[in-house]
């Protein structure tokens, strides 16, 4: 009989979570995770509030500072958060906004929507997860502030003393008639791994905001010393850099103050955005089609340019938030384009009549009309676009035919699971894991070492195709990829169905050597280009095998990183220890592989996430695409960061 202690379970043990407690208990529920993404999300939330002020027409400037002592400050010149006492809660509205979860949505209804424009959970969640937060509000000529610690008010809403305000904030609030300034320092108790803002990542985001919010000027200033800046691979000057932006002359004003300052302001709005996105491509129509009009309370802004790629790149935004799933605005856009271009091509005898069966009955009037007049006014552009479309259509039809013939022949349908797959007994995808293993070395060890209840092993021999530039018909005829696609169960292309996925954890387990890295890159490319939803839904992982093997006498131990190795060497000072850079998974016995890399209790796995779709797309094109020059430039720029396997 289990030993139950009565005193443990009584009224006092029942906790009622109120205020911001739940946020600190389960931060991931509110901000995604407590890693790199979540850390930056704090800033996003506060910036969004400022952007909302701009969208409501109350602000035209936004300042973002990365503070020298950690944390960040966001200032807008909007109306300022109301500071009066709320009749029901008997507290300052500012305090309620900052310390109550769902404040914006829950109370006051319209009052707050109009005056604050806050996203509700946003500011208070950031407050809860910050070691310290100070909010300054300038309204009606008065400057007040409130300080919080881990979400709890440390002071009341008091008049701000000039001497206590940091200079850069003071200067702005002195000049602007009204506004809000929020300074926060992420709590290192919550964010244990991630402690520093990544400048390029923030710049990319601010740049997108500036593109999408016509009329706003965003000032950015990094006050940290150069050494504290993260110089990770993501801060590459190659990845959609602000440097490129400046070279294109797209950045009108750059204040060259120290240490690092950027200013974003784009008169062209989404038009500038399209120009920027296409800067590395051969353009079909030089003059960008652009429309910005309102009808029945809906304002539409769209820009369109054809380039040499055969894939479509559509970025859609509703109220400035990227809408990856599309929506009615995308449907309307596509329909309008199809109709206007078809009409033009038919009228000018470029394609035969008979129509395109894809045309949907919905008509986006604004786009349709604007595009029609654009095409009529720019015959050269229109002709180039039409030619391009006809070519693309031919390629599409050819690929579709090839694909159909393969599918009809039953390349994928009705195939039994591949013989190489050592499947797990579990049928519930949520509990099942698939290890995709680099065949030669580790397949055998993995099969013997696994937990056969939940872990399936698929050894793939050798290197798979580079799927960056190939069409689906090639993919589904590839001997190496078919077993993987069949094992996943969710099919691919038009027949893709995430609900049929057989494993909710797909783990790449590759050797820690050169070819392992290459194979990992090839798998990632395949999933990104052909099974993207699986990455987006967080089903794709990479395993983290040990990096070093220490041997002394007859003993050995696997160590996962440099820090662990150094620590171990310190502990075992008296022993003669040989440390080897660990090469292949095949070097380990089945039990060792289980303990270090596969056992759910002891292993480390990394979930692949996508922070910025545009950047991801550019990265894959650069690394895996056709053009060699950008790749060479990347390798030469970052050569010193490589971990060599010699």
């Amino acid at each position: 009989m289990p030993n139950v202690s009565k005193s443990n379970y009584d009224v006092s043990s029942i906790q009622v979570l109120e205020g911001l407690e739940p946020v600190r208990k389960r931060p991931a529920m509110y901000i995604g995770d407590t890693g790199e993404y979540g850390f930056h999300h704090l800033l996003t939330e506060i910036v969004n509030n400022g952007i909302d002020e701009a969208l409501a027409g109350r602000a035209d400037k936004l300042w973002v500072f990365l503070e020298s002592e950690g944390g960040a400050t966001v200032v807008d010149n909007g109306a300022g958060i109301p500071t009066g006492i709320h009749p029901k809660y008997k507290k300052s509205a500012l305090e309620i906004v900052m310390t109550f979860l769902h404040a914006g949505g829950k109370f006051g209804g319209n009052t707050y929507k109009v005056s604050g424009g806050l996203h509700g959970v946003g500011a208070s969640v950031v407050n809860a997860l910050s070691k310290e937060m100070i909010v300054y509000v300038k309204r009606d000529g008065k400057l007040v502030s409130q300080t919080y610690e881990r979400g709890k008010p440390k002071t009341g809403v008091i008049e701000a003393k000039e001497s206590t305000i940091a200079n850069h904030i003071k200067e702005i609030l002195k000049v602007e008639k009204s506004g809000t300034a929020v300074t926060f320092k992420p709590d290192s108790d919550i964010f244990k791994e991630f402690k520093d803002f990544d400048r390029p990542r923030i710049l990319r985001q601010l740049r997108n905001y500036a593109f999408l919010t016509a009329g706003i000027t965003i000032f950015f200033s990094d006050l940290r010393s150069e050494t504290s800046n993260s110089s990770s691979l993501s801060s590459s000057s190659l990845s959609l850099g602000v440097e490129d932006l400046r070279a294109e002359g797209l950045e009108p004003k750059t204040y060259n103050l120290k240490p690092i300052n950027y200013t974003f302001h784009f008169e062209g709005g989404v038009k500038s955005f399209v120009q920027f996105l296409n800067r590395n491509h051969t353009l079909i129509n030089q003059k960008i089609f652009f429309v910005s009009r309102s009808k029945d309370d809906v304002s539409v802004e769209a820009a369109l340019q054809y380039q040499d790629d055969f894939e479509e790149h559509v970025l859609t935004f509703a109220n400035n938030i990227e809408t990856k799933e599309g929506g009615t605005h995308l449907t309307g856009f596509k329909t309008a384009i199809t109709r206007a271009l078809n009409d033009y091509a038919k009228k000018n005898n470029l394609i035969k009549d008979g129509g395109n069966p894809e045309v949907k009955p919905i008509v986006e009037v604004i786009l349709g009309d604007a595009l029609k007049s654009y095409l009529q006014e720019n015959p050269a552009e229109a002709r180039a676009i039409s030619d391009k479309i006809i070519l693309a259509a031919k390629a599409r039809v050819a690929a579709a035919k090839a694909r159909e013939s393969v599918i009809r022949k039953g390349a994928l349908e009705g195939i039994t699971l591949p013989g190489k797959l050592a499947d797990c007994q579990e049928k519930d995808p949520e509990k099942s894991e698939l290890f995709v293993v680099e065949g030669d070395s580790a397949g055998g060890s993995a099969k013997q070492g696994r937990d056969r209840k939940t872990q399936a092993i698929l050894p793939l021999f050798g290197k798979i195709l580079n799927t960056e530039r190939i069409h689906l018909d090639k993919v589904i005829t590839s001997e190496k990829l078919i077993p993987l696609i069949v094992a996943l169960g969710c099919s691919i292309g038009d027949t893709f169905d995430a609900a049929k996925l057989r494993y909710h954890k797909i783990i790449f387990m590759t050797d820690a050597d050169v070819d392992g890295s290459h194979i990992k890159a090839l798998y990632t490319t395949f999933f990104y280009r052909h099974l993207l939803p699986l990455i987006e839904q967080g089903f794709v992982y990479v395993s983290v095998p040990p990096l070093f093997k220490a041997t002394w006498g007859k003993e050995k131990k696997y160590l996962f990183d440099e820090a662990q190795r150094d620590q171990f060497l310190k502990e075992m000072k008296n022993q003669k220890i040989t440390i080897q850079r660990f090469k292949g998974l095949g070097e380990m016995n089945a039990e060792e592989l289980w303990e270090t890399t596969m056992a759910p209790e002891t292993r480390t796995v990394k979930k692949i996430t996508i922070a910025d779709a545009t950047q991801a797309d550019e990265t894959f094109r650069m690394l895996m695409g056709e053009e060699v020059a950008p790749r060479k430039k990347f390798i030469m720029t970052h050569a010193h960061q490589a971990e060599l396997d010699i």
Binding site: D33, G35, E36, Y37, E193, S232, L233, S234, S236, S239, V514, D515, S517, H518, K520, A521, T524, T525, Y528, I535, V542, V544, T578, I579, Q580, R581, K583, P600, E601, R603, T604, V605, K606, K607, I608, T609, I610, A611, D612, Q615, A616, T619, F620, L623, V628, R631, K632, F634, I635, M636, H638, A639, Q641, A642, E643, L644, D645, I646
Partner: protein, 320 residues
Amino acid sequence: MENQQTTEITTEMKKSYLDYAMSVIVARAIPDVKDGLKPSHRRTLYAMHRLGLSHGSAFKKCARIVGEVLGKYHPHGDMAAYDTLVRLAQDFSMRYPLVWGQGNFGSVDGDPPAHMRYTEAKLQAISEELLADLDKETVDFIPNFDATEEEPVVLPANLPNLLLNGTDGIAVGMATKIPPHNLAEVIDGLSFIIDNLKLTPLADEDNPHPFNILNLPYIPNPPKVENFSLNSEATVEELMQFVKGPDFPTGAQIYGTKDLLEAYSTGRGSILVRAKAEVVENKNGRFQIIVTEIPYQQNKSTLIAQIADLVKDKRVEESL
């Protein structure tokens, strides 16, 4: 509990790709300029050296050499290691073969070599010039893959092997292709470079007004070596008086010296190589084209098949 972290897709891709690319560049496909060898070649020669396979010794089975290479220095596939060894012995692949092969080492027709259990090999005399003085602390050594052996980072290389045997390597984002050259010509060129060396003293704190030490009969306190820059004033055109062009193991003729100048000046260029052939009239009055040398790295049987196809397709007329 499982330790679950996240990794951003672009960071993950860039890291994986960079590690792969740099490793392939540094340690696989591109040779070291000092000895002209890729790691697989260097390890093969070093392993043979350690096995005592000098040119005066008896041959040993290739299987044994491959085993030595794989087990001690080069943790890769056995067939790849054998292919490396075989190529070093082929007189139609190497201008100066570094390995002396006994048995079937393949042919210019593309025939495969015999299996490594049949063939035997030892070092060529020229390889010993590359390996000479290896034990006299001439080069750095590093631990092998399991830290049980040591291997040289480069070979001492008394010969400019990169120019002599050339190289061909495709890495990631970059590639190299250097044709082979004639030993005597390269040596003459080097002599010319040395004769035209100029030692320029650099100004420094101790010696603010540098003088040319070569003019002085005796120097009481010779300045340090690092205070001089050593440059040759030989130009590409001058050097081409000695090194007239590539020297392929299979002979044949190069067309267009202008392209050569371009290639030697810039490191980039293409050269056109044509087979050597003559038209001979035989006894019954018919003419034959006798081909005596074909371009480097051409497979002879494929070439013949292509000629036959041209005749079949009537693109070349069969003349009487």
